[in-house]
């Protein structure tokens, strides 16, 4: 059976094609302002990679903040439930999932069956998210994919007190003016993000194995800072951005399976 999951996030659109329980193809691309068009594009690319046609899809589930605007979706499910499904598939031993996306972050406790036990998410603010790091990368004149590796070379501890994207940027500019090294400032930023995530995990049972997803999980500096702060093993799947889309495709398989059973 072939099912699909489409995740329209704040900055990127993701699609996963699941064929008989295995990932047959996926795509990640910038979202843009037209959600419906982005959904069509990302699904088309994932299908192309899988060598399949739209007509082959038995069920499609949409998730993410733009989930209601995906025309082909038979059902919409929140990214919190989808993240739990995706985590269970990719890393069944993980009891917690940290999803740091473009504009928000979520902490989800997952049970051994992939069900959500508890969750927390940030408020209306891009503090400590992907967008936050994009702004800081710009201020430090460094490529996004180099933030992690460069920060690991830090020697001094710099404390960034502001987590607001606007204020932290001016703090970073001041630190540059004071002559601090880029790697030290970057490490300070990553530590600040980890501190914020750690504060969000309060009230939930801290697990020994945690899976990280979302674009920021690609940043090794943030992942290491999270491991230090949470005293846990943080695993990152090969493509952390598609966890929710994968979860949506798994959800679609469950729906299609039930319908087949009925008829």
């Amino acid at each position: 059976m072939i099912t699909a999951g489409v995740d329209i996030g704040s900055l990127t659109a993701k699609a996963v094609i699941l064929k008989d329980g295995a990932i047959a193809g996926y795509a990640v691309m910038p979202g843009g302002s037209d959600i419906t068009a982005a959904a069509g594009r990302v699904l088309g690319q994932a299908l192309e990679k899988a060598g399949l046609q739209q007509g082959d899809i038995a069920a499609l589930v949409a998730t993410g903040y733009g989930r209601a605007k995906v025309p082909l979706a038979g059902k919409t499910v929140t990214e919190i439930t989808c993240d739990a499904y995706g985590t269970h598939y990719l890393c069944p031993e993980a009891g917690m999932m940290i999803d740091i996306g473009g504009q928000d972050s979520k902490i989800i406790s997952v049970d051994s069956m992939g069900r959500v036990v508890d969750f927390a998410m940030n408020d209306k603010c891009a503090a400590g998210t992907g967008r936050f790091l994009e702004v800081m990368a710009h201020a430090l004149e460094i490529k996004l994919d180099q933030l992690g590796p460069v920060s690991l070379k830090h020697k001094k501890t710099v404390i960034i007190s502001s987590m607001c994207t606007v204020f932290a940027e001016s703090e970073v500019v001041s630190l540059i003016a004071e002559g601090y090294a880029r790697e030290d400032i970057l490490n300070g930023l990553h530590q600040a993000i980890a501190g914020r995530i750690a504060a969000m995990t309060q009230g939930q049972h801290l697990e020994k194995v945690i899976m990280a997803g979302g674009g920021v999980a690609k940043n090794i500096g943030v992942v290491k800072a999270l491991e230090d702060r949470l005293k846990a093993k943080v695993r990152v799947p090969p493509e952390p951005q598609i966890v929710a889309a994968l979860g949506a495709a798994i959800f679609a398989r469950e729906i299609a399976g039930k319908e087949n059973h009925k008829s």
Binding site: T78, I80, T81, D104, R115, V116
Partner: protein, 76 residues
């Protein structure tokens, strides 16, 4: 009291609204949360302001509520 009510009504979950600046609701949420956790009753805490809507985010509130309902559904 909250626990008695939860048991009397055989609730699937609890939604607690914490009003900003209200010491009773913001302070009490952790006590209630811990109690519900012991009983295995899921709880969602929503923060907000009944008068000042400037920090209200409709989508995020909707997402929290939808995800909470999906979570309760999966437990059935």
């Amino acid at each position: 009291m909250a626990l008695k009510l939860a048991e009397e009504y055989k609730v699937d979950g609890v939604i607690h609204f914490s009003h900003w600046g209200c010491r009773q609701s913001c302070g009490g949420e952790h006590v209630i949360r811990d109690l519900m956790k012991k009983k295995g009753i899921p709880m969602l805490i929503l923060d907000g302001d009944g008068i000042d809507s400037r920090s209200y985010s409709k989508e995020q509130t909707k997402l929290r509520l939808e995800a909470f309902l999906e979570m309760l559904e999966a437990r059935r």
